[in-house]
């Protein structure tokens, strides 16, 4: 291997990390308040819900499917929690009901995809309209104020000042990373994403694994919904809008292949989530126009994907 090839190799396999560092360095130079603990915490807080959703869709993507309904699921579950609270259920039951609603949505998606062989992308794109509608009905208004208890929970911190929500969401990501890497289910997800025919031949319970992946996705979306409403203290009809695309974007930036079978939650997808919010946060700190955000995000997504394509091309 020549020196030039070594550099190339290094650049390709670590390009994404370099990109992250470059972005952070640029913003740090532009504004002094960017590279501070407080700002780091605020980035974490803003991105918490996306950590949960991204972690949730990752098993689905790795097993070769797509879940475009996570945003609507988050809204639906927020609606369920709102109603349950309204009916005077205790906090724990309310949270449980919300999570359960997410699981049911995941179960429906999973069964339709795994058993009835729907194309997952088309199916979830269609069904999410219905889920959103149901959520809107439950909330019953464009913006409703939630009882105090919600926002109290949303403001709790652990010693050191880190928000509880952030801790929970990061834990979710860690747990799912371990599940994907260290359990039978996780290994099966990768296997199915690599080759469904081969998985069938070696006797992997494909339908079960796919359904489980969708349930995980639904539960995580519900959690994301909970995080959003408890942080804001209100439930509104915009909850979960574009969330599915942000989650997929984060996963893809982090090197999770949309063809399935490849990619890691940690550090890949986590950094993907951060990168999106670091850019948004950095741009707002340096006082850039809000209309610049999507453009900057687009560029970063493109660069990350381009690096990925280069890597795959070389592997071929």
């Amino acid at each position: 291997m020549t020196k030039a090839m070594k550099y190339r190799e290094f650049f390709l396999s670590n390009g994404f990390y370099l990109l992250c560092i470059i972005v952070i360095v640029i913003f740090s130079c532009l504004n002094r308040s960017f590279f501070t603990i407080e700002n780091f915490f605020s980035i974490l807080l803003a991105s918490a819900f996306l950590c949960a959703t991204t972690a949730g869709v990752t098993p689905v993507i790795i097993s070769g499917n797509m879940d475009l309904s996570v945003g609507s699921t988050a809204l639906l579950c927020a609606g369920v929690m709102y109603q349950s609270f309204h009916l005077g259920m205790p906090d724990s039951v309310t949270l449980l009901l919300g999570i359960l609603a997410g699981a049911v949505v995941g179960l429906i998606n999973g069964i339709l995809v795994a058993k009835l062989k729907f194309n997952s992308m088309v199916l979830t794109l269609g069904l999410q309209i219905g889920y959103r509608g149901l959520g809107l009905m439950l909330i019953g208004g464009t913006q409703v104020k939630l009882p105090e208890a919600f926002s109290v929970f949303g403001k709790k911190t652990i010693p050191g000042g880190l928000n509880v929500m952030v801790v929970i969401c990061l834990l979710v990501m860690l747990v799912l990373h371990v599940i994907l890497k260290r359990t039978k289910f996780g290994t099966y997800c990768y296997a199915i994403g690599c080759s469904e025919t081969a998985s069938e031949r070696v006797g992997i319970p494909i339908a079960k694994v796919k359904i489980a992946a969708f349930i995980i996705s639904g539960v995580c979306a519900a959690l994301a919904g909970f995080v959003v409403i408890s942080r804001l203290g209100i439930a509104h009809s915009y909850i979960g809008k574009k969330m599915e695309f942000d989650a997929i974007e984060a996963a893809v930036i982090g090197g999770i292949s949309l063809n399935g079978g490849r990619g890691n939650l940690l550090p890949g997808a986590l950094l993907g989530v951060f990168l999106i919010y670091v850019i948004n946060n950095g741009l707002s700190i340096i006082g850039a126009s809000e209309y610049v955000y999507p453009f900057a995000q687009g560029i970063i997504v493109f660069v990350a994907m381009y690096l990925d394509a280069l890597k795959n091309f070389r592997n071929k």
């Binding site: 260290r182 359990t183 296997a191 690599c194 080759s195 081969a198 031949r201 070696v202 006797g203």
Partner: protein, 495 residues
């Protein structure tokens, strides 16, 4: 296994086949392409359900509903196309059906690595268990399946053409492994059409032909030529109708030095004007791969092509060559037709430039339709009209439409890969007529087929692929079934 029968639409793939395999012995299952070997083993492996007959294992009757049933019963299948997962590690690939668990929740990666290492060393492989499979050389990946069967503690191990992707050293290791398994009292079924391998490794043999069991016995009581006679059988000799000596004609296309992994080691040939050049070889001899490499469809190093233009031999790039030829592939549904589009759109699809206006490149739909009608008459495609959807046509008529597409394009070189696979007898004769007419009009045809009759009927010249090389060229009366099969099986001609 007794009285196994399996029918596919239109063919009886297995007809009352009985198979008896003993512990500690290697049974060789032999037969020419399409004799029913793979079907029989797929029945045993639980992939297909038999239409009749029973399977007994250790005296117990078994019914397999799925591959995993067969697997649980201790039957392991080393597939022709190995089943593996590129982004998992070698160890995970090996233990995928039965992952080691530390406890109820977590997999035991360390144990898997150790165990994988142990089994890999049995067959003396230099693959490391923690390597990602995508970093393992393609030729070595089949080892995974073999190790997988070993680890699963299978009692019946079926090897389906296991050596096709193995190098020499790996092959020797494989045979050592098989002998070890044999000593452990496993039942081994070995499918191959390489008689050398059968002679070397097997104790017993059974010969299938056209889905029927035609012979069985001990390897020690027979020899290679005995086996090949059984494989070929005493079929009525199909006489060559007519063949033209094309050897002195003008060369249209010269191909040199094509390599393709372990399959092809520098093959080349010349294609003459107005001939049907047959490429003959056993399945897995690299017939299709040779064409794909020549046309640049698979990225492989090496290979040069020259085309004749006004008497000059000019080098041509692979992708330009692809544009010049009409390539009728093995799978017309897959890459030959637009099934959901009407016939006329299919027929003109390769030659749309001829139907577009100078400005804006608007399509002249009326002309497309009229021309398609012409081709429908010419090739006798049976359709109510040119506007029906491709999917509604029968296989034979679809295939004729593929021909029409390339004739419409005006190709001078036609490459036909199994042009009559899956079409009925009537359509087959029609396609044969089309091929002969193409040649008589001065077009050059490269014909790949697994059917000896077809080769004998159509080819003016036959090149025989074996062991990655073109080992022989047959012309005239030498193109007969016996000769073709003998050379493909043994490397020497019958006479």
């Amino acid at each position: 296994m007794s009285n196994i029968t399996k029918e596919f639409p239109g063919v009886k793939a297995l007809d009352n086949v009985c198979l008896y395999a003993e512990e500690g012995r290697v049974l060789g299952l032999i037969g020419i392409n399409g004799a029913g070997k793979s079907t029989l083993m797929n029945v045993l492996g639980g992939v297909y359900k038999p239409d009749g007959g029973t399977i007994e294992l250790d005296g117990k009757e078994m019914i397999f509903h799925s591959p995993s049933d067969a697997y649980n019963a201790g039957i392991a299948f080393i597939h022709q196309e190995p089943q593996y997962f590129l982004s998992l590690t070698v160890a995970e690939n090996i233990f995928i059906s039965d992952l080691y668990m530390k406890n109820k929740v977590f997999t035991d990666k360390k144990k898997m690595m150790e165990e994988a290492e142990k089994y890999l060393s049995i067959i003396a492989s230099n693959i490391r268990p923690d390597q990602l499979l995508e970093n393992v050389a393609i030729g070595q990946r089949q080892v995974i399946e073999i190790v997988r069967a070993l680890t699963a503690g299978a009692n019946v191990i079926i090897f389906d053409e296991p050596t096709s992707s193995l190098g020499r050293q790996e092959k020797e290791n494989l045979f050592k492994t098989i002998n070890k398994l044999k000593a452990e009292g496993k039942i081994i079924i070995y499918i191959s059409h390489y008689l050398d391998e059968i002679m070397e490794i097997c104790d017993d043999y059974i010969v299938l032909r056209d889905g029927k069991l035609v012979n069985q016995g001990l390897i020690s009581e027979t020899d290679k030529s005995g086996l090949s006679n059984m494989i070929i059988g005493q079929k009525l000799e199909h006489l060559k109708k007519k063949s033209i000596d094309t050897r002195d004609r003008e060369t249209v296309l010269t191909v040199e030095d094509i390599h393709y992994g372990n399959l092809l080691h520098g093959v080349g040939f010349e294609l003459k004007k107005g001939e049907v050049l047959g490429i003959w070889g056993l399945m897995g001899s690299g017939r299709t791969e040779m064409i794909r490499a020549m046309l640049g469809l698979d990225r492989v190093p090496g290979g040069k092509a020259y085309i004749n233009e006004n008497g000059n031999k000019l080098p041509i790039k692979k992708n330009e060559l692809l544009r010049k030829v009409g390539y009728i592939t093995e799978g017309r549904h897959f890459d030959g037709l637009f099934l959901s589009k009407p016939v006329w759109k299919n027929v003109t699809s390769a030659n749309l430039d001829a139907y577009t206006s100078k400005i804006f490149h608007m399509l002249n739909i009326k002309k497309e339709y009229e021309d398609t009608k012409k081709y429908i008459d010419l090739l006798q495609i049976k359709v109510p009209n040119a506007g029906v959807k491709m999917a509604t046509l029968s296989g034979g008529n679809q295939q004729k439409a593929v021909f029409a597409k390339w004739i419409c394009k005006g190709a001078d070189i036609f490459i036909l890969d199994e042009p009559t696979r899956g079409v009925d007898v009537g359509a087959k004769l029609g396609i044969h007529k089309i091929i002969r007419e193409l040649a008589s009009q001065g077009k050059s045809v490269i014909l790949i087929t697994s059917e000896a009759d077809e080769m004998v009927d159509l080819a003016d010249r036959v090149l025989i692929l074996r062991g990655g090389k073109i080992i022989s060229e047959q012309t005239g009366a030498d193109i007969n079934q016996k000769n073709l099969m003998m050379i493909a099986l043994q490397g020497v001609s019958a006479s």
